[in-house]
């Protein structure tokens, strides 16, 4: 039993790794030079292929291949012998050849919307980290694509499969406005929509429980006595974003608070959008006491805008965000926010995608729980004196 410590998939938590000691790959230690080679073995850049291994090990090419793929048809003895030779020769199977003759490329693509800073975004970054880690662990590589209009128009997203660049795609940051997603409907090509659903077609998805999150946020605000609560939302084309608005409305409705569009403003997911939305809301409702924000960036923008107008957070207005981005934990005031398990979301989406690739047929529709992180940007409503 070559117990390779095959760790079964747990949803791992983010690694701490900061220290990187690039130790030189000390070339295989078992070099055991028998004859007196005066020169320390220079490296002949001869690329060794599967045939070389087969010849040296005295078996057929097929056997080597089967050893490589851990085919149980090979006996333990041969397995070990061939493995030894593989290491001795430093053989690395050519992935192009493997992909050509097998069904899989072992590559996934992460598709991002064509936003200017999608690649620098903490929200995406967190999800992608999860994807990258799990993909690596499962022996897959990860490509990044941005779905520019031109790219889609030319059908390059489908080309990704057809030309055998990738086995599957994870789509981040899209919504129902992105109609090209329907191209993935036939189950023809493995794709998983991450952190959203898609109404028009039953696509596979994994997303955070925005309804739960919204409830947690509203629980918090309501328990603190807030009744005049505004919302800064974004992307009404996004089902998960609508979930938040729905919950917001119904929770306020339940307690008989007025809730109409004048309490809602679109912050377009951005910093400045959030700021503008906050200014809007405060001017329409000077008596507003709390703000629910669709993401942390907008929450931050709102806080900034409000404090520039002389309001203090949380004394005058409480703010709750969504995301729980790391670097905002240190903001001032630090942000009360709904924690989205973004890293785990990436991990899960990646796992499901690979299962799909391997042939699993069940529909993927998974929803991960959120929780509220209470920090400084919320407090009890001020009693009107």
């Amino acid at each position: 039993m070559a117990s390779k410590g095959k760790v079964k998939n747990k949803i791992a938590s983010p690694p701490e790794s900061a220290d990187l000691q690039g130790s030189l790959p000390a070339s295989n230690q078992n070099i055991t030079i028998r004859f007196d080679s005066p020169l320390p073995d220079e490296k002949p850049p001869e690329k060794v292929n599967i045939r070389d291994v087969a010849r040296e090990a005295g078996v057929s090419v097929a056997t080597v291949s089967m050893v490589l793929n851990e085919n149980p048809r090979i006996s333990r003895g041969t397995q070990v012998r061939v493995q030894k030779m593989i290491e001795r020769l430093g053989y690395r199977p050519n992935r192009l050849a493997q992909g050509l003759s097998s069904k899989y490329t072992q590559v996934l693509a992460v598709m991002l919307p064509p936003l200017r800073h999608a690649l620098a975004d903490a929200y995406f970054g967190e999800i992608i980290s999860g994807i990258a880690d799990r993909a690596g662990k499962l022996g897959h590589k990860m490509m990044i694509e941005q779905a520019k209009p031109q790219f889609i128009k030319e059908g390059r997203h489908i080309e990704l499969y057809e030309r055998r660049f990738v086995d599957g795609i994870l789509c981040l940051g899209f919504n129902e406005k992105h109609t090209f997603l329907a191209d993935f409907a036939g189950a023809q090509y493995p794709m998983i929509l991450v952190d959203n659903r898609f109404g028009p077609q039953p696509l596979d998805y994994v997303h955070c429980d925005y309804r739960l999150g919204a409830n947690q946020a509203m629980n918090c605000l309501l328990q603190l006595g807030h009744r005049a609560v505004g919302i800064i939302y974004a992307a009404p084309e996004s089902p998960t974003a609508r979930d938040v608005v729905d919950v917001y409305k119904s929770r306020l409705g339940e307690i008989g608070a007025t809730v109409d569009d004048s309490w809602m403003a679109d912050g377009r997911f951005t910093d400045e959008g959030g700021a503008a939305a906050a200014r809007d809301l405060i001017s329409r409702h000077p008596d507003i006491t709390a703000l629910l924000c669709g993401n942390d960036k907008m929450a931050l923008g709102a806080i900034r805008a409000l404090s520039q107008q002389g309001y203090q957070v949380p004394r005058d207005i409480s703010i709750v965000g969504f995301d729980d981005l790391q670097h905002l934990a240190f903001a001032n005031p630090s942000l009360t926010t709904v924690h989205l398990p973004l890293y785990e979301l990436g991990v899960t989406a990646c796992e499901r995608l690979i299962e799909k690739i391997r042939g699993k047929v069940e529909r993927v529709a998974e929803i991960l729980p959120t929780h509220l992180v209470l920090r400084e940007s919320t407090t009890m409503v001020r009693q009107p004196n």
Copy 2:
């Protein structure tokens, strides 16, 4: 596409349709749908390969291949005829096969340090955006790898080439402490170090002109009358980071200002690191009037720490950063900073790498100019009254 009428297979779909879909690849002839669909948009999932194209176009496989590769040996007439057939059949060359028989995979890797949020970092994001855009334009795909210690230890960075995953690698965010970089020295495998140099070996690199940037920053501060200037640096193992410190020291030295280690603090490139460093410096030198920061994040941390201690920026202390990250232009106060052409850096690095891949041998050692962006975090030194 237009008519969404026909809902695709629900679980319980009529046997008839299931039958039609599921089986018999036998008659790949047009299954002329008699319904009201005017265009028999048959979607034969038959994968068409180069042989099919050759047969249909009445030429040899070699000719098709040459058309694909725009080989001038093919006459204009044939070229057009074959191209037409390629489009008619919707042929897409299999990249694995292309890679296997040609020298190139058309894939690049971006290697990042194993920092927890490397993928969510605005600095990396900006560079990667440039890389992605240019790579796409030049017909290359982009992979992302994080150089975890284990990854390096197992020699997987070299494996990337040996197994033909990629043609070349761009290394971001590494410094001289990352000794594995020496593995790329032999010019054996195309690699370009981005935004740094590497002392121990003559590696190819492209980086921003940190010396110029530091001079621009110091010009600004000195012209504003500052003499008591501290510096928050990071990663002394990084040549470009040392450039900044060098310039800082020599510029202050020139005007006879005292400059020793007590004016310098390591902010580890992070927000909190910058804050801690600022607190340190201010306690050691309460009379400090300006702070040069190695990046925007540390500058922001410093501003926050200082204002928490009752100092006002820029009234009491001027701050200059490095990077010019987009989302910081809206900070309060907005940050005076040295603009690094990160997007262009990515573009350039990508171009150089692809040239290397194509066989160019000259050493790559390019340095891109910076400029100062004057905003609100700097002002004239207060006259000691």
